[in-house]
Subunit: 400 residues, 2 copies
């Protein structure tokens, strides 16, 4: 895991707040605001679940124009499966935020995370929005990240910077999510903020590409929440020449976005409740990127593979079984598998002598399973966790 020496406090041109308004019974922070000084280019990726929170529905509509100025997030209640009232509540969160900031409600993106099937406590949320609007600060990123947490063990932040057109551009991100494994549906939320000047039409494909190798390449339990959101806002305060699609600075900014999103994505997997291992499943030698991805995710989601990670057991049968289950053509005789640098399968056959060395690799908190299909040149990596007792304990508890 990349370590972060100093957590970021903010990004030029953005202000932040995180307050407690009583949605969480624990009294912890549960309402966050992120506000740009002016309208910012915006792009977002939302859950692919067919059942979506009305917050997601409202957010999809608001981001469509490519400009946003604020994000309002409540934790403790997902506002999902709440019927027509749920959409009214999400819109009311935007209206209330816009009123305090003196901006258009269409420029506000709402997010909710927490328990499903219970209407939002709108009186508390209205008070929270008022409190948060009154306490906005350029240094308040840490307060905001605390207020979006649910079952996370700790706040997840990441930052990067780069030079574009002679100017320093800053990127910072915050994320929450224990990989959809919490009793109350631990939605994955991520907000990436930058002072870069960039056209919305350029930002959208950049975010999509950055997500492919980061948030679209992680799994904890294969379940996807009704509320997942990855949002990027770029307010242009850095003063670089505005980046257009395919134009100068695009590559540098995309690299910085990807770096921040990868660090956050791996933190989400590593922080998954019950997780003791962070494992990269690297598949190469595939015919297409799509088949590489299918094999990688089938291995990454197999309960038998994940319990073997927990048990630190180099059980090659489970890898072979999962590879064969991916629903894509594979040739047993051309498959190689290595754990860390230790080859455990060569041309489809167990390399029996390496079992002790392989078991040692699996004792590490983080390692790579490399699967070479020997059929082509396509490759991919996905990141997964182990499946242990703590996952069961957390997820079988009553919701009380």
């Amino acid at each position: 895991m990349p370590r972060q020496v100093k957590p970021p406090r903010g990004v030029p041109g953005f202000r932040f707040a995180g307050v407690a308004c009583g949605i969480k019974e624990s009294g912890r922070k549960d309402l966050a605001l992120i506000v740009s000084d002016g309208p910012a280019a915006a792009a977002a990726i939302f859950t692919r679940n067919r059942i979506k929170s009305p917050s997601v529905t409202a957010g999809m509509q608001h981001v469509r124009g490519g400009l946003l100025q604020a994000v309002v997030v409540n934790s403790g209640n997902a506002n999902a499966c709440t019927g027509p009232g749920g959409l009214r509540d999400s819109r009311a969160m935007c209206t209330e935020t816009a009123r305090h900031l003196g901006i258009d409600a269409q420029r506000v993106l709402p997010s909710s995370t927490g328990i499903i099937g219970v209407p939002l406590p709108m009186d508390k949320i209205a008070r929270g929005i008022a409190d948060a609007a009154a306490s906005l600060s350029p240094d308040g990123l840490q307060e905001a990240v605390e207020a979006i947490m649910t079952t996370d063990n700790g706040p997840k932040t990441a930052a990067a910077s780069c030079r574009i057109g002679g100017r320093t551009v800053h990127v910072a991100g915050i994320a929450k999510g224990a990989g959809m494994i919490a009793p109350n549906m631990a939605t994955m939320l991520c907000y990436v903020l930058t002072d870069a000047a960039v056209a919305p039409a350029a930002l959208r494909p950049m975010l999509r590409r950055a997500a492919d190798g980061t948030f679209h390449a992680i799994t904890v339990d294969g379940d996807t929440s009704t509320n997942d959101t990855v949002l990027c806002m770029a307010n242009g305060v850095a003063g670089n020449p505005r980046i257009s699609r395919g134009g100068e600075g695009e590559e540098a900014l995309e690299r910085a976005l990807t770096r921040v999103m990868k660090e956050l994505a791996l933190k989400v997997v590593a922080d998954g409740e019950g997780t003791t291992k962070l494992v990269e499943i690297r598949v190469d030698g595939a015919r297409t990127a799509g088949t590489a991805r299918k094999v990688a995710f089938t291995v990454a989601n197999s309960k038998l593979v994940k319990t073997a990670f927990f048990g630190q057991d180099p059980n090659i049968g489970r890898f072979m079984m999962a590879i064969g289950n991916a629903g894509v053509p594979v040739v047993e005789e051309t498959i190689d598998i290595a754990l860390g640098g230790v080859k455990v399968v060569r041309r489809g056959l167990a390399v029996g002598t390496r079992e002790t060395a392989a078991a040692k690799v699996m004792q590490r908190p983080s390692f790579t399973v490399r699967i070479s299909l020997g059929m082509g040149d396509a490759r991919t990596s996905v990141w997964t966790s182990d499946l242990g007792h703590e996952y069961i304990r957390i997820n079988s508890d009553y919701r009380t």
Copy 2:
């Protein structure tokens, strides 16, 4: 679960044996023979895993002609990922069995179940085949089922009979499998034997249809072994007029086969190691049978749903999340969900008052989750288990 008053001892015209030949270190029975007095019509269904045991490859070839006379099964070693030597060993098992019985090796179907990646101990297996051939008995079904077990908690048998053309026709089946959840890959094997006279061309589609609602409708962990096999042999000893495709007696025999296979399939789920609940996921109101199946299996395989079963927690958010994740169109506002008879979701909204009643239903060892999509007339049922601590304990242990 249907209870079985008296376990079947045999089927007219078949002989059975189960012996210990030393493949299992425990000294338990590990080699079974099933032999028909004459050639029997045969049909089989094999694993869809792209990586197949050579036993499966050999079995596929031998059953193609539609006639078999014997089955030889070893437990303790799956003969999978064993390279070209593995196929030679599977063929040798057939040759050896055929030699002792004085039949053609092409009329023998081999099966293996157990650890992956280790060559079969052929000397032990040869001795086992000789012993078994010498101890064949018409009453030996129980010995045979014991010899195919790996991590099963107990032998799984079922029987039924029906009248066809004025004759009594017997059906008996044995199965093993703890749902692919054991450290050494608990393959699912099932052998269904009948004395009905039936054309191979009629038997094949009957077995396929019977499997659709039984062995193709169960899941423990979503993983599929390299060795799964469901075989049906019909030796004609009952003397009924030979059943042709679509002809008289087809329906009665198919019903009896289905009854036996369903009892065995549910026993496999209920016996899955670590299982404390047997849950039917019934989906109706779907547009097509295919979408019903996708929704049912997505719910049945969701780790969040299965841990909620273990925790006896009527967490409607998890059901809704899983339904939305099935990759088929659903309309939140038309979804109803009931646990046992207790409605917990009506038109997409939580029926909050029923939570105590629903939790009571979930305390039962077996119950039904009924999901009504409200979009059409198609329906399906699948059966699944819960996901608890015992599953983790078993599957994270070393293979020693």
